[in-house]
């Protein structure tokens, strides 16, 4: 029944300009990330951007292209849970960086969406390595509440500018204390006060008019933006490392009934049970095991496995943009240190989708958008590569600026002639 409904839905989609063809991916090892688990020698039928059938030896009558995936693995396209893709071309070149502002009037209300650059070279660089989506977030700034992020698709056709805000980002711990005059205690008071004021404002909004002389700790714009957090429409993602700081934030979230997500999370494994009980997910880089500050002394490679064991929902990011795709190496290392492989892949797909409320993406099953990667080997292995990438059913180019440079210099004879490109 659902299938029929989807068919009808797809007919509508055909009316709009969609470049998706129909594909039959044959004979693959599928990492479905559903209760079905891994299926070997299985096929996926993709039509009009959606996964329409999953099973063994599918027979499809309508016109389609076959992608032979014998001895290959298929996963959903990967998503980076925290990045600045599209907001930064060269990190040290200020003019190419848009994910932060030194203006103190923008904190929670700082929305990075208008700045996104869909011609960024970071998009093909990451896409050709199997990353199909990314959460894009603000950084730094002058306030504890740093602003709002969006989810982007790394498609080379019809880049989609999603204006839908998916999270509010903030910081506590060392970074938060630095903003709050040097003390965590002041940072806590400011985080708490802003939520109280935002709550007051949303209940008394009609009494407020421009020019009104209301005294809040933040601008009315910033407080308005926190409404989405108070209404639980979006999570509050807080950067924090120390175990007791995490507990402090769990209590703050309980007090204000908000959806909390912990990012960084060096010492999260020490409070894994508390995080599980409070249903607080964790965005973490499993490869990060250096005690780089006094707030992250207990960091270790076994952390992600221990969090999973306790029932904490994991989401992975290597906190990088240029190489956001290397989240796969981080995930592989989490498996080496005890995390089940399918949990590691979920932390780069469906878990992140669920945390940020991204619909119809993240598993291989009927009705999901066809963000799919065909890997030439184990998707968690450092020597594996993406052979083909589909985003919303559209097969993507596997060319990037780096691959063009490689082609130009692969053979160094007659190098001066290579300036001329057909």
């Amino acid at each position: 029944m659902t299938r029929i409904l989807l068919r009808i839905l797809c007919c509508f989609l055909v009316m709009t300009p969609v470049y998706a063809k129909d594909y039959l991916i044959k004979n693959a090892t599928l990492h479905t990330l559903t209760s079905t688990g891994v299926i070997k020698n299985a096929d996926i039928y993709v039509s009009d951007g959606f996964i329409m059938q999953v099973g063994r030896q599918l027979s499809i009558r309508t016109k389609h292209q076959i992608i032979d995936a014998t001895n290959k693995h298929v996963t959903p396209g990967l998503i980076a849970a925290w990045s600045q893709i599209g907001l930064e071309e060269i990190s040290a070149a200020e003019s190419t960086v848009d994910h932060r502002t030194t203006l103190s009037r923008y904190g929670a209300s700082f929305n990075i969406a208008p700045a996104l650059n869909f011609k960024s070279t970071l998009i093909p660089h990451n896409r050709t390595q199997g990353l199909t989506r990314a959460i894009v977030a603000p950084t730094e700034g002058e306030k504890l509440y740093q602003g709002m992020g969006v989810a982007i698709s790394l498609s080379n056709i019809q880049p989609e500018l999603s204006q839908e805000v998916i999270a509010q980002f903030a910081r506590y711990g060392d970074q938060g204390a630095k903003i709050a005059g040097g003390s965590r205690a002041a940072a806590y008071m400011d985080l708490d006060l802003a939520l109280q004021e935002a709550d007051y404002l949303r209940n008394n909004r009609s009494q407020y008019k421009p020019g009104h002389d209301w005294h809040f700790s933040l601008s009315v714009g910033d407080l308005d933006s926190l409404k989405l957090v108070l209404e639980k429409k979006i999570p509050l993602v807080v950067h924090v490392h120390r175990s007791d700081d995490i507990l402090t934030l769990i209590n703050l979230a309980k007090k204000h009934h908000i959806r909390l997500v912990i990012r960084g999370a060096a010492e999260a494994w020490m409070v894994a049970n508390e995080l599980a009980l409070a249903k607080v997910p964790v965005i973490i880089d499993p490869l990060m095991n250096i005690p780089s500050s006094f707030e992250s002394l207990a960091i270790k490679l076994e952390g992600p496995a221990m969090l999973n064991e306790a029932g904490v929902k994991l989401s992975f990011s290597n906190m990088s943009s240029h190489n956001a795709y290397l989240v796969r190496q981080s995930a592989g290392n989490a498996v080496t240190y005890g995390l089940p492989a399918e949990e590691a892949i979920k932390a780069m797909t469906i878990n992140t989708a669920e945390i940020f409320g991204i619909k119809n993406y993240g598993t291989i099953e009927l009705g999901m958008e066809a963000d799919l990667v065909i890997w030439d080997g184990d998707p968690l292995e450092v020597t594996s590569h993406a052979d083909a990438v589909l985003i919303k059913g559209v097969k993507q180019s596997m060319v990037s600026r780096a691959s063009r440079l490689k082609d130009r210099f692969w053979d160094l004879s007659n190098i001066t002639n290579k300036a001329y490109v057909k």
Binding site: I290, S292, H322, V335, T336, L380, A402, W410
Partner: protein
Amino acid sequence: MSYIIAFLRTLFVILIVVVLSACDPVPESSTEVASQPFESTYNPPTTSSFLIEHATVLTGKGKQLNDASVLVEKGVIKSVGNNLYAPANVIRYNADGQWVTPGLIDVHSHLGVYPSPAIESSEDGNEMTAPVTAEVWAEHSVWTQDPGMPLALAGGVTTFQVLPGSGNLIGGRGVTLKNVYARSVQGMKFPGAPHSLKMACGENPKRVYGERGQAPSTRMGNVAGYRKVWIRATAYRKKWDDYLAAIGAGQELDEPERDLQLDTLAEVLRGNILVHNHCYRAEEMMIMIDIAKEFDYKISTFHHAIEAYKIADVLAKENICSAMWADWWGFKHEAFDHVRENAAMVNKAGACAIIHSDSDIGIQHLNQEAAKAMAAGNKSGLALQPKDAIAWITSNAAQAIGIAEKTGVIEEGKMADLVIWSGNPFSVYSKTNKVFIDGRLVFDRSDDSKKTVSDFELGILAPEGERR
């Protein structure tokens, strides 16, 4: 002081004899050999002989031996191969299903000079008070209790070169250390390893000094800065060499004034200190090669050589190593032309390829970094094997820092710096099981009593426990 001069005189006479007999026109004298300040005190304890059996051995120099053994006696590799004879009483490690490689070597680390936790008071890697600080030595900044060191050891790194940062045109001397617990940096210094000189091209020095309104503020300013100081160093070297030749010939002369900065540079000109040059762009590397020719010194290695693939043929011809990342790019403009196949392309051209870390995280999985760089080359059509790519983090690295005679390869007579891996080290799933330095078991994953805990980590999380 007269003792030193007497020593120098004797040394110089010996050198002259050697030089004349070899008909070498370059006198290999030194103003420093006599005093040997901050000499290595590393002295590995005598260890029992042992045999690693039934392992897949990557020798570090192009060979993979299956079901092979490695015999170690007195901290030195005695033999490697199939069906080795070993005395009945040696300790035997059954490495069935496991792989053995030389201990990994990182030619670019800031462990100890930018230690963890990163707090301002211990950031000691970059003396950014003048564009040329050849007089500073990284070893004088090393905090031996950096918790990054035991972590690197757990990643199989037995030797690493600590370099000053890249804020200066000439940042100072680097030092090569054995990854062992010690109370002093002298206790970690690799015996007999040459010093290195850290030089830097491009954005960093011109930004640091340009922002202060002083030279250099451009790349051409950088080049003028190197050349000006090499002119002084050449004159200084000549003054000292002439002096030593004169007193060697029996003349009585006043000793020339010593200059700590020029001492180091003169030693580079004499070939006793190896040049490690941070340089991203092809055209800048080509300029640096010409400067080296102008002043008659040798560049050992270009570090962070993002564009090495563009001039791999030249680097092969000039016999200069390239130390590269597998995949870092885009953090600054000079790192924009990265290709994932860089190391593979340098290797393909017959040049010396090295994977380095410049990172306290990367140093812990140099094997994975090499694996990614190898796989990228293979995806573009090459057929690189682990036996080839292991050289990028062992023998080639040893060559770059002047210790290839001593370590970096599993063969008779080399230091027994060895790693036993749970499986193929070019897999994300493989971990180190055991690490040996000079035949001493310094890390054993299955035995907590064989895991280094730095002074810093002792009782830091809980008074009775250790951070690990």
